[in-house]
Subunit: 253 residues, 2 copies
Protein backbone atom coordinates (compact mmCIF):
# COMPACT_ATOMS: atom_id res chain seq x y z
CA UNK A 1 0.00 0.00 0.00
CA UNK A 2 1.51 3.39 -0.91
CA UNK A 3 2.46 5.66 2.01
CA UNK A 4 -0.21 8.23 1.27
CA UNK A 5 -2.98 5.62 1.53
CA UNK A 6 -2.16 5.10 5.20
CA UNK A 7 -2.52 8.79 6.09
CA UNK A 8 -5.76 9.24 8.04
CA UNK A 9 -8.37 10.73 5.71
CA UNK A 10 -9.71 14.19 6.60
CA UNK A 11 -13.28 14.21 7.90
CA UNK A 12 -16.15 16.61 7.40
CA UNK A 13 -19.65 17.61 8.44
CA UNK A 14 -22.31 19.56 6.56
CA UNK A 15 -24.55 22.02 8.39
CA UNK A 16 -27.68 23.09 6.51
CA UNK A 17 -29.20 26.27 7.96
CA UNK A 18 -32.77 27.17 7.10
CA UNK A 19 -36.40 26.96 8.16
CA UNK A 20 -37.37 26.27 4.54
CA UNK A 21 -35.75 22.83 4.65
CA UNK A 22 -37.42 21.91 7.98
CA UNK A 23 -40.85 23.16 6.90
CA UNK A 24 -40.78 20.96 3.81
CA UNK A 25 -40.97 23.95 1.47
CA UNK A 26 -37.56 23.25 -0.07
CA UNK A 27 -35.99 19.93 -1.04
CA UNK A 28 -32.33 20.21 -0.11
CA UNK A 29 -29.93 19.22 -2.90
CA UNK A 30 -26.76 20.75 -1.47
CA UNK A 31 -25.92 17.90 0.88
CA UNK A 32 -25.89 15.35 -1.92
CA UNK A 33 -23.70 17.59 -4.09
CA UNK A 34 -21.17 18.28 -1.32
CA UNK A 35 -21.18 14.60 -0.28
CA UNK A 36 -20.31 13.44 -3.78
CA UNK A 37 -17.53 16.01 -4.14
CA UNK A 38 -16.02 15.16 -0.73
CA UNK A 39 -16.06 11.43 -1.50
CA UNK A 40 -14.16 12.11 -4.73
CA UNK A 41 -11.63 14.18 -2.75
CA UNK A 42 -11.12 11.38 -0.22
CA UNK A 43 -12.66 13.44 2.59
CA UNK A 44 -15.01 11.39 4.77
CA UNK A 45 -18.34 13.11 5.37
CA UNK A 46 -19.37 11.68 8.75
CA UNK A 47 -22.36 13.78 9.74
CA UNK A 48 -24.90 16.30 8.49
CA UNK A 49 -27.32 18.46 10.41
CA UNK A 50 -30.21 20.71 9.49
CA UNK A 51 -31.00 23.50 11.95
CA UNK A 52 -33.58 26.30 11.85
CA UNK A 53 -32.83 30.04 11.70
CA UNK A 54 -32.28 30.20 15.45
CA UNK A 55 -29.00 31.69 16.65
CA UNK A 56 -28.47 29.40 19.65
CA UNK A 57 -29.04 26.31 17.49
CA UNK A 58 -26.56 27.44 14.84
CA UNK A 59 -23.91 28.35 17.44
CA UNK A 60 -24.30 25.02 19.20
CA UNK A 61 -24.09 22.99 15.97
CA UNK A 62 -21.09 24.93 14.61
CA UNK A 63 -19.12 24.53 17.84
CA UNK A 64 -19.87 20.81 18.10
CA UNK A 65 -19.15 19.97 14.47
CA UNK A 66 -16.11 22.25 14.19
CA UNK A 67 -14.54 20.52 17.19
CA UNK A 68 -15.29 17.04 15.92
CA UNK A 69 -14.32 17.06 12.22
CA UNK A 70 -11.51 18.40 9.99
CA UNK A 71 -13.94 20.61 8.05
CA UNK A 72 -17.47 21.95 8.38
CA UNK A 73 -19.42 23.19 5.36
CA UNK A 74 -22.49 25.33 6.04
CA UNK A 75 -25.15 26.31 3.51
CA UNK A 76 -27.79 29.01 3.78
CA UNK A 77 -28.52 32.18 5.69
CA UNK A 78 -25.80 34.51 4.38
CA UNK A 79 -28.03 36.94 2.46
CA UNK A 80 -28.95 40.47 3.52
CA UNK A 81 -32.46 39.89 4.95
CA UNK A 82 -33.52 39.72 8.61
CA UNK A 83 -33.71 35.89 8.54
CA UNK A 84 -30.09 35.60 7.38
CA UNK A 85 -28.38 35.11 10.72
CA UNK A 86 -25.62 32.68 9.76
CA UNK A 87 -22.76 35.21 9.70
CA UNK A 88 -23.56 36.64 13.14
CA UNK A 89 -24.17 33.21 14.64
CA UNK A 90 -20.88 31.82 13.35
CA UNK A 91 -18.97 34.88 14.56
CA UNK A 92 -20.50 34.34 18.01
CA UNK A 93 -19.65 30.63 17.92
CA UNK A 94 -15.97 31.66 17.64
CA UNK A 95 -16.24 34.70 19.94
CA UNK A 96 -15.37 37.09 17.08
CA UNK A 97 -16.82 40.49 16.17
CA UNK A 98 -18.51 40.97 12.80
CA UNK A 99 -16.79 43.54 10.59
CA UNK A 100 -17.46 45.06 7.17
CA UNK A 101 -14.97 43.54 4.78
CA UNK A 102 -13.42 46.30 2.66
CA UNK A 103 -12.94 43.99 -0.36
CA UNK A 104 -16.65 43.08 -0.50
CA UNK A 105 -17.69 46.67 0.25
CA UNK A 106 -15.63 47.84 -2.74
CA UNK A 107 -17.13 45.11 -4.90
CA UNK A 108 -20.63 46.22 -3.93
CA UNK A 109 -19.80 49.87 -4.63
CA UNK A 110 -18.56 48.89 -8.09
CA UNK A 111 -21.67 46.71 -8.64
CA UNK A 112 -24.32 49.21 -7.48
CA UNK A 113 -22.54 52.50 -8.17
CA UNK A 114 -20.86 55.04 -5.86
CA UNK A 115 -23.06 56.11 -2.94
CA UNK A 116 -25.71 53.50 -3.76
CA UNK A 117 -24.61 50.88 -1.25
CA UNK A 118 -27.56 51.12 1.17
CA UNK A 119 -27.32 49.66 4.69
CA UNK A 120 -29.30 46.68 3.38
CA UNK A 121 -26.75 46.09 0.63
CA UNK A 122 -23.80 46.67 2.96
CA UNK A 123 -25.06 43.79 5.12
CA UNK A 124 -23.67 41.48 2.44
CA UNK A 125 -20.14 42.72 3.26
CA UNK A 126 -20.33 41.65 6.90
CA UNK A 127 -18.05 38.76 7.94
CA UNK A 128 -16.48 37.54 11.17
CA UNK A 129 -13.16 39.32 11.81
CA UNK A 130 -10.32 37.40 10.20
CA UNK A 131 -12.49 35.48 7.77
CA UNK A 132 -11.07 34.55 4.37
CA UNK A 133 -13.45 35.28 1.51
CA UNK A 134 -14.88 32.60 -0.79
CA UNK A 135 -15.75 34.19 -4.10
CA UNK A 136 -18.18 32.92 -6.73
CA UNK A 137 -18.66 33.84 -10.39
CA UNK A 138 -22.49 33.59 -10.23
CA UNK A 139 -23.41 36.50 -7.96
CA UNK A 140 -21.99 39.35 -5.85
CA UNK A 141 -22.51 37.32 -2.66
CA UNK A 142 -19.39 36.15 -0.86
CA UNK A 143 -18.95 33.11 1.29
CA UNK A 144 -16.14 32.88 3.80
CA UNK A 145 -13.89 30.58 5.77
CA UNK A 146 -13.29 31.02 9.47
CA UNK A 147 -11.15 28.43 11.27
CA UNK A 148 -12.21 25.06 9.76
CA UNK A 149 -15.72 26.24 8.82
CA UNK A 150 -16.66 27.12 5.23
CA UNK A 151 -19.78 29.29 5.05
CA UNK A 152 -21.60 29.08 1.74
CA UNK A 153 -24.86 30.25 0.15
CA UNK A 154 -28.02 28.14 0.14
CA UNK A 155 -28.93 28.75 -3.52
CA UNK A 156 -27.55 25.60 -5.20
CA UNK A 157 -25.96 27.30 -8.23
CA UNK A 158 -24.08 29.72 -5.96
CA UNK A 159 -23.18 27.08 -3.39
CA UNK A 160 -21.68 24.87 -6.10
CA UNK A 161 -19.58 27.72 -7.48
CA UNK A 162 -18.36 28.51 -3.96
CA UNK A 163 -17.52 24.87 -3.28
CA UNK A 164 -15.53 24.67 -6.52
CA UNK A 165 -13.43 27.59 -5.27
CA UNK A 166 -12.96 25.98 -1.89
CA UNK A 167 -12.11 22.45 -3.08
CA UNK A 168 -8.50 23.11 -4.19
CA UNK A 169 -7.68 24.49 -0.71
CA UNK A 170 -8.74 21.32 1.14
CA UNK A 171 -6.46 18.60 2.47
CA UNK A 172 -7.47 15.41 0.71
CA UNK A 173 -7.23 11.71 1.47
CA UNK A 174 -6.93 8.65 -0.74
CA UNK A 175 -9.87 8.76 -3.16
CA UNK A 176 -12.81 6.64 -2.02
CA UNK A 177 -13.71 4.29 -4.86
CA UNK A 178 -17.11 2.69 -5.27
CA UNK A 179 -18.49 -0.32 -7.16
CA UNK A 180 -22.16 -1.24 -7.28
CA UNK A 181 -23.90 -4.45 -8.36
CA UNK A 182 -27.68 -4.78 -8.49
CA UNK A 183 -29.88 -7.85 -8.49
CA UNK A 184 -33.48 -8.83 -7.86
CA UNK A 185 -32.81 -11.23 -4.98
CA UNK A 186 -34.32 -10.48 -1.58
CA UNK A 187 -32.05 -8.93 1.04
CA UNK A 188 -32.89 -11.65 3.55
CA UNK A 189 -31.53 -14.27 1.14
CA UNK A 190 -28.33 -12.29 0.61
CA UNK A 191 -27.80 -11.36 4.25
CA UNK A 192 -25.69 -14.32 5.41
CA UNK A 193 -23.31 -14.82 2.45
CA UNK A 194 -22.92 -11.04 2.10
CA UNK A 195 -21.93 -10.72 5.74
CA UNK A 196 -19.34 -13.47 5.19
CA UNK A 197 -17.78 -11.43 2.36
CA UNK A 198 -17.80 -8.31 4.55
CA UNK A 199 -16.08 -10.21 7.39
CA UNK A 200 -13.38 -11.49 5.00
CA UNK A 201 -12.67 -7.93 3.81
CA UNK A 202 -12.78 -5.46 6.70
CA UNK A 203 -11.00 -2.78 4.62
CA UNK A 204 -13.95 -2.58 2.22
CA UNK A 205 -17.25 -1.13 3.36
CA UNK A 206 -20.14 -3.13 1.84
CA UNK A 207 -23.62 -1.61 1.90
CA UNK A 208 -26.89 -3.23 0.85
CA UNK A 209 -29.46 -0.76 -0.48
CA UNK A 210 -32.90 -2.11 -1.36
CA UNK A 211 -34.99 -0.21 -3.86
CA UNK A 212 -38.46 -0.33 -5.32
CA UNK A 213 -38.68 0.72 -8.98
CA UNK A 214 -41.52 0.23 -11.48
CA UNK A 215 -43.28 -2.14 -9.15
CA UNK A 216 -40.29 -4.43 -8.59
CA UNK A 217 -37.99 -4.81 -5.60
CA UNK A 218 -34.27 -5.06 -6.01
CA UNK A 219 -31.10 -4.36 -4.13
CA UNK A 220 -27.83 -2.60 -4.93
CA UNK A 221 -24.75 -3.99 -3.23
CA UNK A 222 -22.19 -1.21 -2.98
CA UNK A 223 -18.53 -1.72 -2.07
CA UNK A 224 -16.45 1.26 -1.03
CA UNK A 225 -12.77 1.53 -0.31
CA UNK A 226 -9.47 3.06 -1.35
CA UNK A 227 -7.75 -0.03 -2.80
CA UNK A 228 -8.85 -0.55 -6.42
CA UNK A 229 -7.58 -4.15 -6.71
CA UNK A 230 -9.23 -5.20 -3.45
CA UNK A 231 -12.48 -3.53 -4.54
CA UNK A 232 -12.33 -5.48 -7.79
CA UNK A 233 -11.91 -8.74 -5.88
CA UNK A 234 -14.81 -8.00 -3.52
CA UNK A 235 -17.00 -7.06 -6.47
CA UNK A 236 -16.22 -10.40 -8.14
CA UNK A 237 -17.04 -12.26 -4.93
CA UNK A 238 -20.38 -10.46 -4.67
CA UNK A 239 -21.19 -11.25 -8.29
CA UNK A 240 -20.34 -14.94 -7.70
CA UNK A 241 -22.53 -14.97 -4.60
CA UNK A 242 -25.47 -13.59 -6.60
CA UNK A 243 -25.01 -16.26 -9.28
CA UNK A 244 -24.73 -18.99 -6.61
CA UNK A 245 -28.09 -17.87 -5.25
CA UNK A 246 -29.69 -18.08 -8.70
CA UNK A 247 -29.67 -14.35 -9.38
CA UNK A 248 -28.23 -12.25 -12.16
CA UNK A 249 -25.69 -9.59 -11.20
CA UNK A 250 -26.05 -6.25 -12.98
CA UNK A 251 -22.93 -4.08 -12.75
CA UNK A 252 -24.14 -0.54 -12.05
CA UNK A 253 -20.83 1.27 -11.60
CA UNK B 1 -57.72 33.02 19.55
CA UNK B 2 -59.27 29.58 20.15
CA UNK B 3 -57.97 27.66 23.16
CA UNK B 4 -56.32 24.94 21.09
CA UNK B 5 -54.19 27.49 19.23
CA UNK B 6 -52.47 28.39 22.51
CA UNK B 7 -51.44 24.82 23.29
CA UNK B 8 -47.72 24.46 22.66
CA UNK B 9 -47.20 22.69 19.35
CA UNK B 10 -45.47 19.29 19.49
CA UNK B 11 -41.91 19.27 18.17
CA UNK B 12 -39.95 16.72 16.17
CA UNK B 13 -36.58 15.72 14.79
CA UNK B 14 -35.69 13.48 11.85
CA UNK B 15 -32.70 11.14 12.03
CA UNK B 16 -31.51 9.76 8.70
CA UNK B 17 -29.28 6.71 9.14
CA UNK B 18 -27.10 5.58 6.27
CA UNK B 19 -23.65 5.74 4.70
CA UNK B 20 -25.28 6.03 1.27
CA UNK B 21 -26.56 9.53 2.04
CA UNK B 22 -23.18 10.71 3.38
CA UNK B 23 -21.22 9.22 0.47
CA UNK B 24 -23.37 11.11 -2.04
CA UNK B 25 -24.61 7.88 -3.60
CA UNK B 26 -28.24 8.56 -2.65
CA UNK B 27 -30.18 11.83 -2.71
CA UNK B 28 -32.37 11.78 0.39
CA UNK B 29 -36.02 12.58 -0.27
CA UNK B 30 -37.46 11.31 3.03
CA UNK B 31 -36.68 14.42 5.07
CA UNK B 32 -38.62 16.65 2.69
CA UNK B 33 -41.61 14.29 2.72
CA UNK B 34 -41.73 13.99 6.51
CA UNK B 35 -41.17 17.75 6.92
CA UNK B 36 -44.16 18.60 4.73
CA UNK B 37 -46.40 16.10 6.52
CA UNK B 38 -45.36 17.35 9.98
CA UNK B 39 -45.97 20.98 8.99
CA UNK B 40 -49.49 20.04 7.85
CA UNK B 41 -50.06 18.29 11.20
CA UNK B 42 -48.91 21.35 13.15
CA UNK B 43 -45.84 19.52 14.48
CA UNK B 44 -42.71 21.68 14.38
CA UNK B 45 -39.72 19.92 12.86
CA UNK B 46 -36.81 21.63 14.60
CA UNK B 47 -33.81 19.53 13.63
CA UNK B 48 -32.59 16.82 11.30
CA UNK B 49 -29.42 14.79 11.40
CA UNK B 50 -27.74 12.35 9.06
CA UNK B 51 -25.44 9.80 10.69
CA UNK B 52 -23.43 6.89 9.24
CA UNK B 53 -23.98 3.20 10.00
CA UNK B 54 -21.93 3.43 13.19
CA UNK B 55 -23.60 2.19 16.37
CA UNK B 56 -22.15 4.80 18.74
CA UNK B 57 -23.24 7.63 16.43
CA UNK B 58 -26.80 6.32 16.16
CA UNK B 59 -27.10 5.79 19.93
CA UNK B 60 -25.78 9.27 20.66
CA UNK B 61 -28.11 10.96 18.16
CA UNK B 62 -31.20 9.00 19.27
CA UNK B 63 -30.63 9.81 22.93
CA UNK B 64 -30.02 13.51 22.27
CA UNK B 65 -32.96 14.00 19.92
CA UNK B 66 -35.36 11.82 21.92
CA UNK B 67 -34.70 13.90 25.02
CA UNK B 68 -35.07 17.21 23.21
CA UNK B 69 -38.19 16.83 21.04
CA UNK B 70 -41.73 15.38 21.30
CA UNK B 71 -41.06 12.90 18.50
CA UNK B 72 -38.10 11.47 16.60
CA UNK B 73 -38.53 9.85 13.19
CA UNK B 74 -35.68 7.69 11.94
CA UNK B 75 -35.25 6.36 8.41
CA UNK B 76 -32.97 3.60 7.17
CA UNK B 77 -31.05 0.60 8.45
CA UNK B 78 -33.89 -1.75 9.47
CA UNK B 79 -33.35 -4.45 6.84
CA UNK B 80 -31.80 -7.90 7.40
CA UNK B 81 -28.23 -7.30 6.14
CA UNK B 82 -25.06 -6.77 8.20
CA UNK B 83 -25.11 -3.00 7.64
CA UNK B 84 -28.64 -2.68 9.08
CA UNK B 85 -27.78 -1.79 12.64
CA UNK B 86 -30.61 0.63 13.47
CA UNK B 87 -32.73 -1.78 15.53
CA UNK B 88 -29.85 -2.89 17.75
CA UNK B 89 -28.53 0.65 18.13
CA UNK B 90 -31.91 2.04 19.16
CA UNK B 91 -32.48 -0.81 21.62
CA UNK B 92 -29.09 0.01 23.17
CA UNK B 93 -29.95 3.73 23.28
CA UNK B 94 -32.88 2.82 25.54
CA UNK B 95 -31.09 0.01 27.43
CA UNK B 96 -33.51 -2.61 26.07
CA UNK B 97 -32.87 -6.15 24.81
CA UNK B 98 -33.76 -7.02 21.21
CA UNK B 99 -36.41 -9.74 20.93
CA UNK B 100 -38.04 -11.62 18.07
CA UNK B 101 -41.55 -10.26 17.71
CA UNK B 102 -44.01 -13.18 17.39
CA UNK B 103 -46.41 -11.17 15.19
CA UNK B 104 -43.71 -10.43 12.60
CA UNK B 105 -42.30 -13.96 12.86
CA UNK B 106 -45.75 -15.38 12.08
CA UNK B 107 -46.13 -12.93 9.17
CA UNK B 108 -42.77 -14.07 7.77
CA UNK B 109 -43.73 -17.75 8.17
CA UNK B 110 -46.94 -17.10 6.25
CA UNK B 111 -45.02 -15.12 3.60
CA UNK B 112 -42.14 -17.59 3.01
CA UNK B 113 -43.84 -20.85 4.02
CA UNK B 114 -43.52 -23.06 7.11
CA UNK B 115 -39.90 -23.90 8.01
CA UNK B 116 -38.51 -21.52 5.39
CA UNK B 117 -37.82 -18.61 7.70
CA UNK B 118 -34.01 -18.68 7.65
CA UNK B 119 -31.96 -16.85 10.30
CA UNK B 120 -31.41 -14.11 7.72
CA UNK B 121 -35.15 -13.70 7.23
CA UNK B 122 -35.87 -13.90 10.94
CA UNK B 123 -33.62 -10.87 11.45
CA UNK B 124 -36.51 -8.79 10.10
CA UNK B 125 -38.62 -9.80 13.13
CA UNK B 126 -36.15 -8.36 15.65
CA UNK B 127 -37.34 -5.29 17.61
CA UNK B 128 -36.48 -3.70 20.95
CA UNK B 129 -38.53 -5.28 23.75
CA UNK B 130 -41.81 -3.43 24.20
CA UNK B 131 -41.80 -1.85 20.74
CA UNK B 132 -45.11 -1.24 19.01
CA UNK B 133 -45.13 -2.34 15.37
CA UNK B 134 -45.62 0.04 12.45
CA UNK B 135 -47.05 -1.91 9.55
CA UNK B 136 -46.95 -1.02 5.86
CA UNK B 137 -48.90 -2.34 2.86
CA UNK B 138 -45.90 -2.21 0.51
CA UNK B 139 -43.62 -4.90 1.92
CA UNK B 140 -43.21 -7.46 4.71
CA UNK B 141 -40.83 -5.14 6.58
CA UNK B 142 -42.11 -3.67 9.83
CA UNK B 143 -41.17 -0.40 11.42
CA UNK B 144 -41.67 0.18 15.12
CA UNK B 145 -42.19 2.75 17.83
CA UNK B 146 -40.22 2.71 21.06
CA UNK B 147 -40.80 5.55 23.54
CA UNK B 148 -41.10 8.70 21.37
CA UNK B 149 -39.01 7.31 18.52
CA UNK B 150 -40.56 6.03 15.28
CA UNK B 151 -38.24 3.75 13.35
CA UNK B 152 -39.00 3.55 9.64
CA UNK B 153 -37.51 2.11 6.46
CA UNK B 154 -35.19 4.07 4.19
CA UNK B 155 -36.85 3.06 0.89
CA UNK B 156 -39.09 6.08 0.19
CA UNK B 157 -42.21 4.13 -0.87
CA UNK B 158 -42.07 2.02 2.29
CA UNK B 159 -41.18 4.95 4.56
CA UNK B 160 -44.18 6.92 3.24
CA UNK B 161 -46.56 4.03 3.86
CA UNK B 162 -45.19 3.65 7.39
CA UNK B 163 -45.51 7.37 8.07
CA UNK B 164 -49.13 7.31 6.89
CA UNK B 165 -49.81 4.62 9.49
CA UNK B 166 -48.04 6.58 12.19
CA UNK B 167 -49.58 10.00 11.47
CA UNK B 168 -53.03 9.36 13.04
CA UNK B 169 -51.35 8.39 16.34
CA UNK B 170 -49.45 11.69 16.73
CA UNK B 171 -50.45 14.62 18.93
CA UNK B 172 -50.94 17.57 16.62
CA UNK B 173 -50.77 21.34 16.98
CA UNK B 174 -52.53 24.17 15.19
CA UNK B 175 -51.85 23.70 11.47
CA UNK B 176 -48.97 25.81 10.20
CA UNK B 177 -50.20 27.81 7.21
CA UNK B 178 -47.93 29.22 4.53
CA UNK B 179 -48.21 31.95 1.89
CA UNK B 180 -45.54 32.72 -0.67
CA UNK B 181 -45.03 35.73 -2.94
CA UNK B 182 -42.25 35.91 -5.52
CA UNK B 183 -40.68 38.89 -7.26
CA UNK B 184 -37.55 39.77 -9.22
CA UNK B 185 -36.29 42.48 -6.85
CA UNK B 186 -32.92 42.03 -5.17
CA UNK B 187 -32.92 40.84 -1.57
CA UNK B 188 -30.76 43.76 -0.49
CA UNK B 189 -33.45 46.18 -1.70
CA UNK B 190 -36.17 44.29 0.16
CA UNK B 191 -34.19 43.76 3.35
CA UNK B 192 -35.13 46.90 5.29
CA UNK B 193 -38.89 47.18 4.54
CA UNK B 194 -39.28 43.41 4.92
CA UNK B 195 -37.67 43.51 8.35
CA UNK B 196 -40.10 46.29 9.33
CA UNK B 197 -43.04 44.02 8.40
CA UNK B 198 -41.48 41.14 10.37
CA UNK B 199 -41.01 43.38 13.43
CA UNK B 200 -44.66 44.52 13.27
CA UNK B 201 -45.86 40.88 13.17
CA UNK B 202 -43.80 38.72 15.54
CA UNK B 203 -46.42 35.93 15.38
CA UNK B 204 -45.71 35.36 11.70
CA UNK B 205 -42.39 33.92 10.56
CA UNK B 206 -41.25 35.63 7.34
CA UNK B 207 -38.51 34.01 5.29
CA UNK B 208 -36.74 35.36 2.22
CA UNK B 209 -35.56 32.68 -0.20
CA UNK B 210 -33.56 33.78 -3.23
CA UNK B 211 -33.50 31.57 -6.29
CA UNK B 212 -31.84 31.39 -9.65
CA UNK B 213 -34.00 29.97 -12.44
CA UNK B 214 -33.47 30.07 -16.19
CA UNK B 215 -30.70 32.61 -15.85
CA UNK B 216 -32.71 35.07 -13.72
CA UNK B 217 -32.54 35.85 -10.02
CA UNK B 218 -35.66 36.22 -7.94
CA UNK B 219 -36.82 35.82 -4.40
CA UNK B 220 -39.76 34.11 -2.70
CA UNK B 221 -41.07 35.79 0.44
CA UNK B 222 -42.74 33.15 2.57
CA UNK B 223 -44.96 33.89 5.57
CA UNK B 224 -45.75 31.11 8.01
CA UNK B 225 -48.08 31.06 10.98
CA UNK B 226 -51.21 29.55 12.47
CA UNK B 227 -53.58 32.55 12.17
CA UNK B 228 -55.08 32.65 8.67
CA UNK B 229 -56.38 36.24 8.91
CA UNK B 230 -53.05 37.55 10.18
CA UNK B 231 -51.22 35.66 7.45
CA UNK B 232 -53.51 37.26 4.86
CA UNK B 233 -52.71 40.71 6.25
CA UNK B 234 -48.96 40.11 6.23
CA UNK B 235 -49.16 38.78 2.68
CA UNK B 236 -50.95 41.96 1.59
CA UNK B 237 -48.33 44.11 3.29
CA UNK B 238 -45.55 42.22 1.51
CA UNK B 239 -47.31 42.61 -1.86
CA UNK B 240 -47.73 46.35 -1.23
CA UNK B 241 -44.04 46.63 -0.31
CA UNK B 242 -43.02 44.93 -3.57
CA UNK B 243 -45.20 47.34 -5.58
CA UNK B 244 -43.80 50.33 -3.67
CA UNK B 245 -40.30 49.23 -4.68
CA UNK B 246 -41.32 49.03 -8.35
CA UNK B 247 -41.65 45.25 -8.47
CA UNK B 248 -44.48 42.93 -9.44
CA UNK B 249 -45.70 40.49 -6.77
CA UNK B 250 -46.43 36.97 -8.01
CA UNK B 251 -48.58 34.95 -5.59
CA UNK B 252 -47.09 31.45 -5.51
CA UNK B 253 -49.25 29.85 -2.83
Amino acid sequence: MPAEASKPAPTAAVLIIGNEILSGRTQDVNLNHIAGKLTALGIRLLEARVVPDIEAEIIDAVRTLSGRYSYVFTTGGIGPTHDDITTDSIAKAFGLPVVVDPTIAELLERHYGAGKVTPGRLRMARVPQGAMLVDNPVSAASGFRIANVFVMAGVPAIMRAMFDNVAPTLATGPAILQRSIACHLGESLLAEPLEAIQLRHPDVDIGSYPWFRQGAFGVSLVSRGTDAALLEQVTEEIAAMIRDLGGEPVFES
